[in-house]
């Protein structure tokens, strides 16, 4: 019976205190949207890091005077090597063709390099790009190798930027979580303030703390869940706008956000929204109204 009373109370409460409820939902929506956006950004950059990481190759350039035997033995050694995921061979013509393609908008550089000036190479993808040093050590005594180039170093600037963006996203996420907490605490405090007479009357009639508090807390949590759903909808809409078609503002900067990450936001935001507002409501009533 008591439970039914409380549930009924929550629904009626949500309906009656429309102003308060809407205030709380809007507050939560704004904060949760920002929170969700920063978490998505963080995940997205992670994903882009992975993609770039996955593309990283170790180029094993061969000496100009490499012999067929050396080449074959090196290829065999690389194919046997447990660190290696895949291996492609690029001869001088292929290397030049690729060079021309990549630098097509720098004609001066293209003309400066003779066909055949670029050495042949093995392009190695490692199972784990971090094991580059190991591979280099293992190849040390193989003859016929010119230089070994690890793209990781070339991409270090890109990764530094990714790192910065992630740090920033984290800072924003934490800031927004704190802001959400403050705003929700405030809204609830105001709600509690506007209900203080009612609470006082209930207590004078003999209502227990639990009886007074439960509907309030559940109401706040319901508002939290609704807010998180609206926030999710806003994020979804935002994604369509920012990534929609080639003219979307973010298509040049970020890879598209996968559906999976997107839907992950729903339970995350709902949990944060309900949790933050529920706990805040409980504490607010506890200390503010001395229920």
């Amino acid at each position: 019976m008591r439970l039914k009373y409380v549930l009924n109370e929550v629904l009626v409460g949500l309906w009656r205190n429309v102003t308060m409820t809407i205030a709380m939902i809007i507050t939560l929506t704004v904060s949760l949207t920002m929170l969700g956006a920063s978490v998505l950004l963080y995940l997205q950059v992670d994903e882009m890091k992975d993609v770039h990481y996955g593309r990283i190759e170790v180029s094993v350039f061969l000496r100009d005077d490499v012999t067929d035997a050396q080449r074959t033995s090196l290829q065999a050694a690389l194919q046997r090597n447990p660190l290696v995921k895949s291996l492609t061979y690029e001869n001088r013509e292929q290397a030049y063709a690729r060079f021309q393609r990549i630098w097509s908008d720098s004609p001066v550089l293209v003309t400066a390099v003779r066909p055949g000036a670029l050495p042949e190479s093995f392009r190695v993808k490692l199972k784990d790009p971090e094991t580059y040093d190991k591979l280099a050590a293992q190849l040390k005594d193989q003859s016929g190798i010119g230089t070994i180039v690890d793209q990781r170093e070339l991409l270090s600037k890109v990764f530094a930027i990714f790192g910065s963006v992630q740090k920033l996203a984290l800072v924003i996420a934490v800031t927004m979580a704190v802001a959400a907490l403050l705003l929700v605490a405030n809204t609830i405090q105001v709600a509690a303030y506007s209900k203080r007479r009612e609470v006082a009357v209930m207590k004078l009639v003999g209502a227990s703390n639990w009886f007074v508090q439960a509907p309030f807390v559940l109401e706040a949590m319901a508002a939290g869940v609704i807010g998180s759903i609206v926030a999710f909808a806003a994020l979804y809409a935002g994604r369509s706008v920012l990534f929609g078609g080639p003219s979307g503002a973010l298509t040049t900067v970020l890879t598209p956000i996968p559906e999976g990450n997107m839907w992950l936001m729903l339970p995350l935001l709902a949990a944060v929204g309900a949790g933050v507002s529920g706990i805040t409501a409980w504490f607010t009533l506890r200390f503010y109204l001395r229920v």
Partner: protein, 226 residues
Amino acid sequence: MIALENVTKTYPKASRPSLDAVTVGIEKGEFVFFIGPSGSGKSTFIKLLLHEVQPTSGRVVVNAKDVTTMRPWRIPHFRRSIGCVFQDFRLLPNRTAYENVAFALEVIGKTKAVARRVVPEVLELVGLGGKEHRYPHELSGGEQQRVAVARAFVNRPLILLADEPTGNLDPDTSIEIMRLLDRINRTGTTVVMVTHDSNIVNQMRRRVIEIESGRIVRDQARGVYG
């Protein structure tokens, strides 16, 4: 049933005590009128019994329980044995008359079915049949007061405190309410009633406690007003 022992209450901002070394005892089943000029401390007395305010010194015993030293978590349960009509009604503003009365039943754990049976009956008793679904601001002053009376006795409390329960009522309706309180008293409920209405006091001829500037100046078994 009710015992105050040398109770003094001085509000923080007040220059002199609102209750001054009051000692009084009320037995189970008694009907007591509390009279006295405006600001003499009658409502303060009621508030002390409910643990709404704490005494500055002295002991308040209600229902064999020492209210002054009561643990906070026991207070709700304690209050459920007391019905109270407040001077300013204290109805819940966003609940209808029905819901306000039903609240007192919900608090003691009665089912909705019980409320549906009992509440309309009680509202009918105080003359509010047909006005169950009005919010307090949609009722006249006297009607609000009668909702407050209905809420106070709907759960058959051991003690009924009534702070000027007829202040906003015409003489005829007042007499109805007095008959009701009398009937409740006859079932064994202790009734303490604060009033300014000399006609009622003179008609009923019950115990009268008169208070002036926080001191009891008269305590008469079958007294009259002034």
